[in-house]
């Protein structure tokens, strides 16, 4: 029965636990985080089981409410959605465990609201990944966004302004998406993705289609945080509570990128993207611009979390570039980068939060002596930095390799150059971080309070465990990249590409 209901359970488990948490918290407020992590772990196990189920038996279609599509809402697990669901669930479970271990005062509350919002966010992200209905996608996008607004705002002070900016921009983006979906519905009469794909060629001559697609892409672009629509991202990732950024940064923007890929390739089709419109080219240029803008801005930052935020904009550019190029290799690279970036950005933000807790701040100057005080954390930071820079066997190298292959084989030498330039920028800003972490402070700085002691003061085991899991995952993703790509991502990349 679990096999049959798997797509629904991926949403039901975190959602039910999240809704029950306020009631659970009245029994004992110490149950909140363990229950949250348990729900995340169950979801991750189900998602991984879903991957194997899809590989063995083909795509899984689930009709919610018993109404067959196109009348009812359909949940679909195919290679791409199963892969992204597994990545999101697994990395989010590590983030939830990290948040529980960090015990951030901003998320502590007698009513159990903080962990409940985190679970709602996870449920909504799983919903975005498995749904096969355009309006259902909007609903889950907004549920995720609302949970995010509240979680970011919990940071107080500057986080309130950052969250408000995200409220305005995020709601604007979602409204654009809704308007685009409305136009497509008025044109074809259906909201189901597969049905729309069947009906769209007949309506393609209408002038509404480019407008609707443009609105949808713009809306999802704001959610993805790709330049020039990334205005909300740096402030949000810098001022939100560390536990919240650890949950958001690895996966929240990736599900919007998944939604874009799903709509582009399953609904519109590759021929529309590449030949019939400028969409492929425009997305590729947007991605390239994002890589460069994010990388250059990251160079200039003095705060670790702000640097990582701009780096996230840059890395999202890689994914958008891969989607825009729309060749088999570039798509495999883009999807592999979803996995790799989730792992390495998660690892980096975990390190930033742990450093903030132990060393007192996230400015680069605060990180001095981290290699003495927090050796395990520093080791994980080094692994993640190697992956960001693109040094094998860490996973980041392989996704950039496939993207490079895709750019070269389709003849776009400019984009190949941009990919290499982005790697170079990553080298510079990651080594800047490592320089601050591994250098001893000058003698004049040595009479500060806690830094004078050379005793070890690493993060607590509850925080270290998810961190180490992610670091191991980065290396594992690199070592096993061939089997991931050939076994799963080739199938995912062939969706709609033909």
């Amino acid at each position: 029965m679990i096999r049959h209901h798997l797509p629904a359970l991926l949403v039901v488990v975190p959602l039910g636990t999240g809704l029950a948490l306020p009631l659970l918290a009245t029994l004992s407020s110490r149950l909140a985080w363990p229950a949250t992590v348990a729900a995340g772990a169950i979801t991750a196990a189900l998602a991984v089981a879903g991957v194997f189920q899809v590989l063995a038996g083909g795509p899984v279609h689930y009709a919610v409410g018993g109404w067959p599509p196109p009348w009812g809402i359909e949940l679909v697990l195919d290679p791409l959605s199963a892969f992204v669901a597994a990545v999101v669930a697994a990395v989010s479970t590590c983030s939830l465990a990290y948040a529980g271990g960090l015990d951030d005062p901003a998320l502590r509350g007698r009513l159990g609201g903080g962990p409940a919002l985190c679970l709602l966010l996870l449920a909504a992200m799983m919903g975005i990944v498995v749904t096969g209905d355009l309006f259902n996608l909007f609903v889950f996008l907004e549920v995720a966004a609302l949970a995010t607004y509240a979680l970011i705002g919990a940071g107080g002070g500057r986080a309130l302004l950052a969250s408000f900016r995200y409220v305005i921009l995020g709601s604007l983006g979602a409204s654009f998406y809704l308007l685009g979906v409305g136009l497509l519905y008025a044109l074809t009469g259906t909201l189901n993705m597969a049905d729309l794909a069947a009906r769209l060629p007949a309506a393609e001559a209408s002038r509404l289609v480019p407008v609707a697609v443009g609105l949808i892409v713009m809306g999802l672009g704001i959610k993805m945080g790709v330049a020039p629509l990334h205005g909300w991202l740096p402030d949000a990732y810098t001022y939100a509570p560390p536990a919240v950024v650890a949950l958001l940064a690895p996966v929240a923007t990736k599900v919007a990128a998944y939604a874009l890929a799903r709509i582009l390739f399953s609904v519109l089709g590759v021929s529309f993207v590449l030949d019939a419109s400028v969409l492929g080219g425009a997305l590729a240029w947007l991605g390239a611009g994002s890589i460069l803008v994010g990388g250059i801005m990251a160079l200039r930052q003095d705060d670790l979390r702000r640097l990582l935020a701009y780096s996230s904009v840059s890395q999202m550019g890689y994914i958008v570039l891969g989607i825009g190029l729309a060749t088999a290799n570039s798509l495999a690279g883009a999807y592999l980068h979803i996995l790799n970036h989730a792992l390495m950005k998660g690892c980096l933000f975990f390190v930033a939060g742990a450093a903030a807790q132990r060393l007192g701040g996230t400015a680069l100057a605060d990180l001095r002596r981290m290699h003495r005080l927090m050796p395990v954390t520093t080791a994980c930071l080094v692994v993640a930095a190697l992956s960001m820079v693109g040094i094998p066997p860490a996973g980041g190298f392989f996704s950039k390799w496939y993207l490079l292959l895709g750019a070269v084989e389709s003849g776009h030498w400019v984009f190949a150059g941009v990919i290499l330039a982005g790697g170079l920028l990553a080298v510079v800003y990651m080594f800047r971080v490592l320089e601050h972490v591994c250098l001893e402070p000058r003698a004049a700085d040595d009479h500060g309070g806690g830094h004078a002691r050379v005793g070890r003061k690493d993060a607590s085991p509850a925080v270290l465990l998810p961190l180490v899991v992610l670091a191991v995952g980065i290396v594992a993703a690199g070592i096993f990249n061939a089997s991931i790509v050939n076994g799963l991502l080739r199938l995912a990349a062939s969706v709609g590409v033909g």
């Binding site: 607004y149 002070g157 408000f164 409220v167 604007l172 308007l179």
Partner: protein
């Protein structure tokens, strides 16, 4: 050149919806007061909802409720209920977003004492 204004008879509501869209975006961008930005956002979202609901109306159509089983007429005689159901969800989303935005504004006001974006940026530094 004569204007055929009869085309407006059926399409007027779409013109109103897009007019509200423009108004909402203008309010969002042009005002520095955060409360007015929130109002502009709400106008924008309401305009999207109005557009959607307008697509469901038909000339001389009645409510899509069948009094007893088997007594349904041709589909063209009933209004399309699906956009209404979808827009209920969208209205709920709009209300929730408004609630979050207002909560943020109230906290900002408590902390920094102003709704003006320029003042806030100065005081937050």
């Amino acid at each position: 050149m004569s204007l055929d204004l009869s085309v407006l008879a059926g399409e007027a509501v779409y013109l109103v919806a897009f007019g509200l869209l423009a108004l909402g975006i203008f309010a969002l961008i042009a005002h520095g007061n955060l409360m007015k930005k929130v109002i502009g956002l709400t106008i924008f979202q309401t305009a999207v909802i109005l557009f959607f609901v307008a697509t469901s109306a038909k000339w001389q159509a009645t409510l899509p409720i069948v009094p007893e089983a088997g007594a349904a007429g041709p589909a063209a005689g009933y209004m399309n209920p699906l956009p209404h159901a979808l827009m209920l969800t969208a209205i709920v989303v709009m209300v929730a977003t408004l609630g979050v935005a207002l909560a943020l504004l109230v906290r900002l006001h408590r902390r920094y004492g102003s709704f003006e974006e320029d003042d806030l940026l100065d005081r937050v530094e």
